[in-house]
Symmetry: C2
Subunit: 244 residues, 2 copies
C-alpha cells in the first residue's frame, strides 16, 4: 500500500448540476488535481517531471463506484494513494468521503507516463515512483471490456477553446460532460450514476471535429467519442433511479 494524501474541499455552486450534485467532470478534475498535490508534496511535481525527464502523467482508465455524489456546499475529503505499478501502468485509488468519514465514492485510475515530445508511453522509472511507496507488480490488472453497441444518438461538434486544457488537448473531465449531454434531461433529473468505466484511447487536439455517440437501454448507457482519427474514448455507465 502506498503513501496516502488527503485534501479537504467544499463543493461550490459552479460545480453542481440541476440535481444540486457535484458534476463528474468537476469531480474527476479535482481528483486529478489532488494527485498533483501529492506529487508536489513528494517533490515530484508535474513541472519537475517534465523538466527532468521530459515525461507527463496521463490517465488511461477510470473506474468509479458511487454510493452518492457530493452535494452543493458539502464538505468532503479526498483521500488518494498510489496502489501499485507494473512496467507501464501505475494504479491509483481515490476515495471521496464525508467529513464524518462515510464513503461516498471510489475512483480507480490507471496512469501511464508519456514522452512529452513523441506522445508515446514510456516505461515506469523506479526513481519516479519510489516516493509514493506503491507495490511493484508483474501483472496488468484486469479492466472490464467494453461491449459493442449500436448508437441511438450521434452528436457532431467542433472542439472549442473552452474545452482545452493547458496542453491544448481536451480536458479529461470534459468527456464526462459530453456523455451527460447525450442523455435526455428528464433521464438525468431522475437518475444518478452507480458505476462508470471510462477509457481514454487517444488525445483530442484543438482543431478536431468530434462525434459523441450514445446508446441508452434501461439503466445502462454506452458512449464513445470518435473523430476522423478514430476512437478517442469510450465509457459505460450504470445508473440508478433517484429516490423520489
Amino acid at each position: 500500500m502506498g503513501k496516502q494524501y488527503t485534501f479537504n474541499y467544499q463543493v461550490p455552486f459552479y460545480q453542481v448540476d440541476v440535481n444540486h450534485k457535484m458534476r463528474l467532470s468537476s469531480l474527476l478534475s479535482l481528483a486529478l488535481q489532488v494527485s498533483g498535490y501529492q506529487s508536489e508534496a513528494l517533490g515530484l511535481s508535474d513541472q519537475s517531471l517534465l523538466e527532468t525527464y521530459g515525461l507527463v502523467w496521463v490517465v488511461t482508465d477510470y473506474q468509479l463506484m458511487i454510493e452518492r455524489l457530493p452535494r452543493y456546499r458539502e464538505e468532503i475529503l479526498i483521500r488518494t494513494e498510489a496502489l501499485s505499478y507494473n512496467r507501464l501502468i501505475c494504479y491509483r485509488q481515490f476515495d471521496v468521503l464525508t467529513k464524518t468519514g462515510e464513503k461516498l465514492l471510489t475512483i480507480k485510475a490507471s496512469f501511464v507516463l508519456l514522452d512529452y515530445q513523441s506522445r508515446r508511453p514510456h516505461q515506469v522509472l523506479e526513481e519516479i515512483v519510489a516516493p509514493y511507496q506503491a507495490e511493484k507488480i508483474k501483472q496488468r490488472l484486469k479492466v472490464p471490456q467494453f461491449a459493442s453497441f449500436t448508437p441511438e444518438s450521434k452528436r457532431t461538434f467542433p472542439v472549442l477553446y473552452s474545452d482545452l486544457d493547458q496542453n491544448a488537448h481536451v480536458n479529461n473531465g470534459r468527456y464526462m460532460d459530453w456523455f451527460y449531454d447525450d442523455l435526455p434531461l428528464a433521464f438525468l433529473r431522475n437518475h444518478s450514476p452507480k458505476t462508470i468505466h471510462l477509457s481514454y484511447v487517444k488525445e483530442i487536439q484543438a482543431t478536431d471535429q468530434v462525434s459523441s455517440q450514445c446508446s441508452l437501454k434501461g439503466t445502462r448507457s454506452q458512449h464513445c467519442i470518435r473523430s476522423e482519427a478514430g476512437l478517442h474514448a469510450q465509457a459505460e455507465i450504470e445508473w440508478r433511479q433517484n429516490d423520489l
Copy 2:
C-alpha cells in the same frame, strides 16, 4: 463603504486555459461564490433568502478591469464588498490580489433581487441589505452603452446539460466561454482581456437553441447571445497583445 470579505484561493489546473491563465468563466463563478460566502457569514445565505422572502440574487452587469489574469497554481486573494444600492440595484466590487497584495483585476457587478416564482425584479429590502453596510444612493450608476455591430461570425448551438446550473439556467460564467469560443485560437493565444463589459438581459433555459454572434476588429471584440426569445446577453472586450 461596505463590510469587506476576503477569501484565499489557489488556481487549479482545470480552471486554466491554453495560456496557463485562469479562465474568466471560472473567475466570475468563483467571485460569485465568494459573495455567497459573505452572505452566509452575515446570516443571509441564498437559501435563507429564498425560504424567507422568495427572492434570489441575480447579476445583471459586470465590468472588469484586468492587469493580468491569475496563473496556474498562483495563490490569490479575492476581496469583496457591497458598495452601494438604490431602489432596485445593488453594486458590489471584487478585487483579485496576489498574496503580496498586488492588484490583478477588479470586477464591478450589479445585482438585482428577483422574485423566484415570477422571475421579475423585486425592490431592494432594507433588512436584506443592512448587514452589508453598503451606502444607500438615489441614482442609478452609469454603465457604458453597447455599440451596435454587424456580426462577422454566428455560431448556433443547443443549450446542453453541462451548461446548466442548479436552477436549470445557463451558468453565468458559461457565457464568457461562449464569447471566447467565437474567437480564433491564434488570437486567443496571443491576447489577454484588458477590459470587459458584460450584461445579462434574460436568462437562458434548458431547452433553448442559442446563437452566439461576434465581431472582432483590431483589439476590440463585440458579442451577443440571442435566441428566438430575443437578446440574452451582450459583451464588449478590449484586448491587449501578450508580451512575447
